[in-house]
């Protein structure tokens, strides 16, 4: 039994202390905004130029110029601010954002991430991901543990083009939560029913 996507989002959010500033990437990480408690102290940053993203807007609040980086309509909280893209990435690159949570295609035990293209097959572009992984104080990757063909996404060395080299701090998958210990994946938590042998190459994982 692996975790559902919502359970993964709860695990990721559980890693983040109250009051932290957070950038949420496109894809799985957006689920975190769905599970935020009504009252919380997080400060949500969106790289298109918003600090202080609030809940989904009411019909009256909807505005075409009020969107997040996933191009979804948002609201803002009291105390929010708008700024240009250079300032927004200055917040990221300058180390002013505490946590970023991104989707992933591969993470390797040297802490590198690949998530922006599969040569010849798919190209989404890196968007802000390369800046985020090099700038945010803590980098969390949230992704399914396995590809559709059953191969693991936690590998010895990424084969896809990198987003960042030696940049990841924590990985949350549907199988567990992982950090790094001497170029191995350190298992912090496993979903109920998942065993060490399910994770991938056994020698890459330590308890």
């Amino acid at each position: 039994m692996s975790w559902s996507k919502i359970e993964m989002a709860k695990e990721a959010l559980g890693l983040i202390p109250d009051g932290a500033s957070i950038n949420l990437g496109i894809g799985l990480p957006t689920l975190i905004s769905e599970i935020l408690p009504k009252k919380h102290d997080y400060i949500i940053h969106s790289e298109n130029g918003v600090l202080g993203v609030g809940a989904r807007p009411t019909k009256e609040q909807v505005s075409p110029t009020l969107i997040n980086a996933g191009k979804e309509t948002i609201s803002v909280i009291p105390g929010a601010s708008f700024f240009d893209s250079s300032t927004s990435f200055g917040m990221i690159r300058g180390g002013h954002i505490d946590y970023c949570i991104l989707g992933g295609m591969e993470v390797d035990c040297e802490r590198s991430l690949a998530n922006w293209m599969i040569p010849g097959k798919k190209i989404t572009g890196m968007g802000g991901a390369m800046d985020l992984v090099n700038g945010a104080k803590n980098v969390i990757v949230m992704m399914t543990h396995q590809n559709k063909d059953g191969t693991t996404k936690l590998v010895k060395q990424c084969t896809l083009p990198l987003t960042g080299k030696a940049v990841v701090n924590t990985i949350v998958t549907d199988f567990g939560v992982f950090q790094f210990d001497q170029e191995k994946f350190k298992v912090l938590k496993l979903a109920a029913g998942v065993s060490l042998n399910d994770l991938g190459s056994r020698e890459l994982f330590v308890e």
């Binding site: 075409p64 110029t65 969107i67 708008f82 800046d131 090099n134």
Partner: protein, 231 residues
């Protein structure tokens, strides 16, 4: 103060020719210069270099120019949500430079600010860093050069006749940076106000960076993904 008001997109874009480089503001479809793009799509020009975060999205915006094969080279950071562009990239029918979004905005800002190049950790150890000078500071960084253009086409909510601008909500994104980085900046707005109509302390971009302004019309202001609270 010089009056920079033009009648419409057609008059404001009169000197854009084939081979021009054009920066276009907006994030996804938020804050895109709809009137300028529409006018460009009607002009008999080609081989454009277009610098824009998404080169349109969801079949709209700059996708109009893509579909007419007017764009020779594109500079952008994100292709997701733009199947027309992805198809051209995978079939090698467009020259593309993908740039990390923070580096993209900073290269543009740098050009406008007179900075020729800067070192950044973004992209180090990736395809983006290949062939670029690496220098070790507290960590390895790569050298990125500034990025300018012949024209910038941007949208603001309000302008006065000098070109002082005010942007609505998150529509600002790349637009003020592009305005600073282009030789000729053309701004379309929802509303033209009198000089002083935007209080000096509320001006988001000084008119010194703006050459032409016109009152836009027929704005679609499309929403890509409408999400509404159920309460």
């Amino acid at each position: 103060m010089k009056n920079k008001i033009f009648k419409n997109a057609k008059e404001a874009l009169f000197d854009v020719n084939s081979g021009a480089s054009i920066m276009s503001g907006g994030f996804g479809l938020c804050g895109i210069p709809e009137n300028c793009i529409e006018q460009l799509s009607k002009m008999d020009i080609k081989d454009l270099s277009v610098i824009s975060n998404n080169i349109g999205n969801s079949g709209r915006g700059l996708v109009k120019l893509l579909k007419k094969n007017m764009i020779k080279k594109a500079y952008c950071s994100y292709v997701g949500g733009n199947p027309d562009l992805e198809e051209k990239i995978l079939s090698n029918t467009i020259d593309l430079e993908l740039i990390p979004q923070g580096t993209f905005s900073e290269r543009i800002r740098a050009h406008g600010m007179g900075i020729r190049a800067f070192y950044t950790p973004t992209g180090y150890g990736t395809l983006i860093g290949e062939g670029k000078e690496v220098k070790e500071f507290d960590r390895p960084c790569i050298l990125e050069t500034s990025l300018g253009a012949d024209f910038a086409i941007i949208k603001a909510q309000k302008a006065d006749s000098f070109g002082n601008l005010w942007f609505k909500e998150a529509a600002r994104n790349f637009s003020p940076l592009m305005a600073m980085a282009a030789t000729t900046t053309i701004v379309e707005v929802e509303e033209i106000v009198e000089l002083g109509g935007i209080k000096a302390e509320d001006v988001h971009l000084s008119g010194i960076f703006v050459q032409r302004v016109f009152q836009g019309s027929h704005y679609e202001n499309a929403i890509e993904f409408l999400k509404v609270s159920e309460e």
